[in-house]
């Protein structure tokens, strides 16, 4: 028997990880130093790994009394400069909605992982779904911008968690990771990038002395610098509409610019937020648009369709919100038919249909019985709709 190559084993750290564990590794690599959460299936492993690993990384963990409190503590910690996150599933995500709005309004960076399970209500705690796509977009009240990422593999979960922190720090906004139960619980062998290979972003702090600091003034980028509590920049944080100094206001000439800036600070960079992987799309007559674990089934289905001689392709979305209109427009320019398979009654497909200018037919494949969409189901649908 051949001896294992120990030298090689030491340079390549190959790990067998569950999606939820990879999320924790990504968070720690991104610099997460505070976690507050409440137990809930199928997200609890994130909390358990954080309870174990955060103190060793110099951070702190707390199990709060509910999900409202969890996100409250996360926002408080973030105000002191600590990169902070929480993780939950549908019912807990519903409870967090008010504080998501607070984070948008007060511009407090944080990452919220929602491992989606079947709903509504207590629903299907142990089975997968993608039913929170619209809640992630519109769950909190009022007009607000939001960034939502969707991993489809264990490695994705690692990498996108780092990017979730980066975006959150860069734009001073909550970022939601929308994973599904299958991605959270599947175990895959992955190789993590070496430390220092993935760029880590930190929020920009003020560059002026405290007496010159105006907390919510637009520095041009739309993203005001954010000091840490205790550093001498005393300012007021509120969920009320506020003026540039952070004081409550009802003046229309102060309200409108605030809300507009909250949107434009993200929408101005929409080109930088087109994150997707495409497979066999160059000549595809029909393209599958999918995200999460469904994208895995989609890729297998497309490969089998190619073997059968069909010109099928796949676009796997990594960003769900803001909706990647440019990417979808490009797909629609190539294919005459689009299939959007989802583990819900059709949430992202509504958005795809909304941006369709009529040059494409948008079909759906929906499943909401708690079971995964299989490659065979997508293949059959492709055969049915394939333009011949």
């Amino acid at each position: 028997m051949k001896k294992p190559d120990t030298a090689k084993q030491m340079t390549i750290a190959r790990l067998l990880l569950q999606g939820n564990e990879a999320c924790v590794k990504g968070a720690l690599a991104a610099g997460c130093r505070f976690y507050a959460g409440y137990p809930i299936t199928p997200a609890s492993e994130i909390m358990e790994a954080m309870a174990r690993d955060l103190p060793r990384a110099g951070g702190s963990f707390i199990q709060m009394e509910d999900e409202i409190a969890s996100l409250g503590a996360v926002l408080g910690a973030s105000l002191t400069g600590a990169k902070s996150m929480t993780a939950t599933s549908g019912p807990g995500f519903s409870l967090m909605q008010e504080h998501i709005g607070y984070a948008c309004m007060a511009e407090i960076p944080c990452v919220i992982v929602d491992v989606m399970r079947g709903g509504p209500s207590t629903g299907l705690p142990t089975q997968g779904a993608q039913g929170d796509v619209m809640q992630a977009r519109w769950g909190t009240h009022g007009d607000h911008p939001i960034i939502v990422l969707a991993p489809s593999s264990v490695y994705d979960f690692y990498e996108l968690t780092i990017q979730a922190f980066n975006l959150s720090e860069r734009y001073r906004t909550p970022v939601i990771m929308l994973a599904d139960e299958a991605v959270a619980h599947v175990r895959e062998s992955i190789v993590l990038p070496e430390a220092g290979k993935v760029a880590i972003e930190d929020r920009a702090g003020p560059t002026v002395p405290p007496e010159w600091y105006i907390p919510y003034a637009d520095p041009g980028s739309g993203i005001p610098p954010m000091p840490r509590f205790g550093d001498g920049y005393r300012y007021n944080v509120t969920g009320l509409t506020h003026d540039v100094r952070g004081y409550p206001t009802t003046r229309k000439d102060e309200v409108e610019p605030l809300i507009s800036r909250l949107f434009s600070k993200i929408s101005k960079d929409i080109d930088r937020l087109q994150w997707f992987d495409s497979y066999y799309t160059e000549d595809a007559l029909v393209t599958v648009i999918a995200y999460g674990s469904v994208a895995r089934a989609g890729l297998q289905a497309v490969k089998e369709a190619r073997i059968k001689g069909m010109k099928a392709g796949l676009v796997k979305l990594k960003v769900l919100w803001p909706f990647m209109r440019q990417t979808i427009d490009a797909v629609m320019g190539n294919s005459s038919r689009i299939l959007v398979p989802e583990m819900n009654m059709g949430q992202l497909s509504r958005e795809v249909k909304r941006v369709n200018r009529g040059n494409c037919e948008v079909m759906t494949l929906n499943k909401y019985d708690g079971t995964l969409i299989t490659p065979l189901e997508i293949l059959r649908k492709l055969e049915e709709i394939y333009p011949c």
Binding site: R33, F34, A36, P55, S60, I62, M64, E65, D66, I68, A69, S70, L71, G72, A73, V74, L75, G76, A77, S78, L79, T80, G81, A82, S84, E98, H99, Y102, R228, F229, G230, D231, G232, R234, Y235, N236, V237, T238, G239, L240, D243, R245, Y247, P248
Partner: protein
């Protein structure tokens, strides 16, 4: 030249657009003055203080004063405060909540913050009414009284906030009214100094809405009412149930030395 020797001038935000939102005769201003005096005596630096509040009349207080301030969501001040204290234990964290804020919508957070014994100095300004929203009854509104949301009389029993805090595990529990300012000063000093979770209930008057059920017309009458209805812990001890009924018991209810959450977390995770 104008004299600005009053300690409050050091702590009020000069950049804030005044006036404040409190009605003339409201007790919140008396508490704000007392808190500022206590902070001034404590020698704490403005940069090291984080003032966290919920939603309601008294929760507007942090906006006016020159510290690190967070005006959070309704009932959730203690959740933010917990995150702040855990992420940066060097900061002095103070919360200001109203009665509806702390023991109705935020009741769960209140008992758990006390149970954990996180070092937070919390102040509950209890005016026994929802003032900002127009005078609805709160969990501390007396049984039987008529408010806009209990037009036939309040069928509910009211909370004893101090007993609640004590039972939940707070290290320091005290109660004063805004009439008894020397006592209030003393309680705030002790709360700010306490290692662990401290709670001071400050009985205050709502001159706009509370006056209706009290049948009183002026802030002066309401403060006289507070004076006449108060009993010190010491005096109350020898009295029977009927004599204590409808009285505000003021003084120190609990003063314990227990390890704080931060200390215990560090000990276990080290």
């Amino acid at each position: 030249m104008l004299e600005t020797a009053h300690p409050i001038h050091k702590y009020l935000r000069s950049s804030k657009k005044f006036p404040h939102i409190w009605c003339a005769g409201c007790g919140s201003g008396i508490f704000m003055n007392a808190l500022i005096r206590a902070i001034d005596r404590s020698g704490l630096a403005k940069d090291d203080i984080v003032l966290v509040s919920g939603i309601g009349c008294s929760s507007r207080l942090p906006i006016y004063v020159d510290f690190n301030t967070v005006h959070t969501t309704h009932g959730r001040a203690l959740t933010f405060a917990t995150g702040i204290k855990l992420a940066n234990p060097a900061l002095k964290v103070i919360t200001i909540m109203g009665d509806g804020d702390a023991v109705s919508i935020g009741g769960n957070h209140f008992i758990h913050a006390a149970r954990r014994n996180v070092e937070i100095a919390s102040f509950i300004i209890n005016n026994q009414i929802y003032g900002m929203t127009g005078g609805q009854c709160s969990p501390t509104t007396p049984h039987g009284v008529k408010t806009v949301s209990s037009p036939y009389g309040n069928a509910e029993n009211n909370f004893d906030i101090c007993a609640l805090a004590e039972a939940a595990g707070a290290s320091f529990v005290g109660r004063s009214t805004v009439y008894h300012t020397p006592l209030l000063d003393r309680l705030i000093d002790k709360a700010l100094d306490k290692k662990g979770f401290s709670m001071v209930e400050v009985i205050s008057q709502c001159v706009t809405h509370g006056s209706r059920w009290m049948g009183l017309n002026s802030p002066v009458d309401m403060m006289k009412w507070l004076k006449e209805h108060s009993l010190t812990v010491e005096k109350a001890k020898g009295l029977g149930e009927t004599e204590r009924k409808d009285k505000i018991i003021i003084g120190i209810m609990a003063d314990l030395d227990r390890p704080t959450y931060n200390e215990e977390y560090d000990r276990f995770t080290r």
